[in-house]
Subunit: 217 residues, 2 copies
Amino acid sequence: MNSDKLNNKKTNTEEAIMEASEALFLEKGYLLATTTEIARRAGVTHAMLHYYYRTKEQIFFKVLDKNLHELFQSVRAGMSSEEVSFWENLKGGVMLLLEFLDQHRQLVGLLYDVARHSPELLERYQESTLNLLSGLAGHHKVLLDQEVRSGRCNPITFEQLFWDIVTMSFSTYMFLPLMNRVAKMDDLEVDRMLKRRYDEIITVLHYRLYGKHESSN
Amino acid sequence: MNSDKLNNKKTNTEEAIMEASEALFLEKGYLLATTTEIARRAGVTHAMLHYYYRTKEQIFFKVLDKNLHELFQSVRAGMSSEEVSFWENLKGGVMLLLEFLDQHRQLVGLLYDVARHSPELLERYQESTLNLLSGLAGHHKVLLDQEVRSGRCNPITFEQLFWDIVTMSFSTYMFLPLMNRVAKMDDLEVDRMLKRRYDEIITVLHYRLYGKHESSN
DNA sequence: GCATGAATTAACAGTATTGTTAAACAAGTC
DNA sequence: GACTTGTTTAACAATACTGTTAATTCATGC
């Protein structure tokens, strides 16, 4: 059995590498993040990175596995089967998504980078992603169609509602770096901006579906 | 005066480099596009690239200058002062933007890459961008506020309407590579999808402002 | 033809990248 | 104290990238 000291030493280096990797991948994407800089930030020689994780790709998968697992959990949690109205159900899901994105502000940017520049790295998630999406569709599509056919909400397809949500939610967080760097907003201003977008996204969706503000029931 | 042959030769190489550069920058962004590959695609040695354009940065500026100039033109054209309703005015601007993006499907991705990974390259456009945006705000903000105060449309700030438009429009084209590669849609399916998104974005905006479908005047 | 000047090539410098490896080190076990 | 095991370092290989430069080609004007 390993001694505490040995164990701690190993754990420290290994975890330092993992934390630096996650931070750098989230910042720079896959291709632009270098093992050299990861090692520099973790305070170890770059050979250690290969000793513990073999290749850059392996460590990237560890980072992405963790983050995507959390995202998937969050999306699944949004498919509650509580006995509430369609809107309450949908709103709950969107709010969970927005709260997840708020806690993982750099993740969408990373996913975009990878999908754009190294799509082969996402193949290992394709099956589970398709499963999740078809689960999502199965859960909400029927309910939406009922809501539309019964005349309780305006006509819209599941596909378009899905993209309304995705484009508004995801791209808000993709544009975050621009808020900081280009528009030179400080963190507090960014937070306030995000809160306003959060409310507006919900508001837009309710107007789209029901033609009026949520509060004016 | 240069002979035709000399002129042609020069023009051919120079233009071949420029075309290959634009294509590769649009595909890979600034940092991941290499002068080596630009030269390879243009069918010339990579020294020629430096001979005609000195540095990678210089050629990138040439590409971006051209594209941003076109974008700015398009946005300015969207600020028509025709004597039409606020909605017709706004809708015209959004349609022009969407049509521009449709003709420059990779530009948003490039801008995102640069803003994220090489923001210093955008400094030279900061002043003109701010001018454009303040012109845009000056043009529409007052009209929107009138529309809201008069009760002709639902309450909304210019800022939120702006972001509703930007996030839905831009990110639709940012997600295009995913449609092709991840969702494995062919070009025809992508075109049909874009058309549906085009209509839906206009529809969403009209619901957001007026609480009903555009056609149900 | 030949001199001129632009266009082109091939080779090089300098730097950075990922990954490997042999040797050194540390610490506990027998 | 010698042995074993896991950890760390420094040096190296192989490749790629940006940019420069000296030498060469080439069309053209004289």
